[in-house]
Symmetry: C2
Subunit: 228 residues, 2 copies
């Protein structure tokens, strides 16, 4: 960690010396040893953001669920499976100067995941009892002691994108929300492009459609500006 | 298709001229546009089997869910997402001389997958109503007209492997069951090795631990022998 910190300080760029947490990918919530519930997320936008941040000199801790996108090049990778593991890894990464929550965290988990493969019941259907997963974004954004200076959430919506995302920003207690429309027709999920809207306390900033790498670079520059 | 058939006939090997269906990978059953239920399966064993079969001259139709393993080199790839799509693609592939069902098909799907992203309800928990997916192996193994001459199922078990697999062979109506223990400790899921037991009407044939590629080659040779 000392070596990483020294390496970060030696890096050039507007984010040199800044330590930034990025969460990425989906979480997998086990039903039993062979079944799970997941959110669709390749992790591509998260990887692009981590790469853009290290490109500006930041030290990045990259907490990632089982993503299919390549891992970022110069970040510290912390692999996790479930939402609870992701929260623990995010807390372990504190203190950080900024935290960017791109992960598509499952909202629920199965209450008592079975240690053995579930056999079909008489009617063939499972009885799954759900419980809520921790709200990682809300938890970190409302910490009294170690809250990062800049907390950014993502909102993947399929309808009323700006309305839902604006409400989410207030509900979660984060500084910015990056909202996008992931409806099937948009090709965002699994695709190369993204069309995002950045919402902060000064209003709504809609960006044109661009590649996920371009979204990442523009967001990293906005972060550098906000932290300078 | 004619070109494929001619190419297959021109291929050397004990399975030249044979047309074989292989299913592989997991299925993803949508809950809503961003959430799904899945079985853990990299598709590595299915890809290895397809490669071994084409290596012996077979024409392979490879019906695959969203797998993370590389696709086979010389098979006809038919990508699907859900169990119902996999059944339809398997039926489309008929007639075949043999069918090998390595896919980890989700047993259930959500009754009415939502076209919009589910919002948290008051208590934060989803109400998911399940229904059974089609039993692809049983369906194909019990066809009256187009049943393939050799039908092979796979059984991923975490306990009482041979007992469960023996019962499964009879219940499904298939000729062979290839059973393996996918308990967390075995490292089979996502790993390079596999320890399988082949069960047919003559009894139980337990193979030593070997790579998935070796399992595939040995199984392909056993298939060639049975079909000669």
């Amino acid at each position: 960690e000392l070596v990483d910190a020294i390496a970060a300080k030696l890096r050039a760029g507007p984010l040199a010396g800044k330590r930034i947490l990025v969460t990425s990918g989906p979480t997998h919530e086990p039903i039993d040893p062979v079944r799970y519930i997941a959110n669709r997320s390749s992790g591509a936008q998260g990887t692009a953001i981590a790469n853009a941040l290290t490109g500006l000199g930041a030290e990045v801790i990259f907490v990632t669920g089982p993503a299919t996108a390549p891992m970022p090049q110069h970040a510290k990778i912390v692999p996790v499976q479930t939402a609870r593991e992701m929260l623990a890894a995010a807390e372990d990464a504190l203190p950080v100067d900024a935290a960017i929550f791109t992960a598509a965290v499952a909202d629920w988990r199965v209450k008592s995941a079975s240690a053995q493969k579930l056999k079909k019941s008489k009617d063939g259907l499972p009885l799954l009892d759900f419980e809520e997963n921790p709200d990682i974004l809300h938890h970190i954004a409302t910490l009294s002691d170690k809250r990062p200076g800049l907390v950014i959430g993502f909102a993947a919506e399929t309808n009323d994108v700006v309305d839902h995302a604006t409400a989410k920003r207030l509900r979660k207690g984060c500084d910015w929300i990056v909202a996008n429309d992931v409806s099937a027709g948009t090709g965002v999920m699994g695709g190369a492009d993204n069309t995002v809207t950045v919402i902060d306390d000064s209003g709504v900033d809609s960006w044109p459609k661009m590649t996920k790498a371009e979204v990442a670079r523009r967001l990293a520059e906005r972060i550098a500006q906000a932290m300078s």
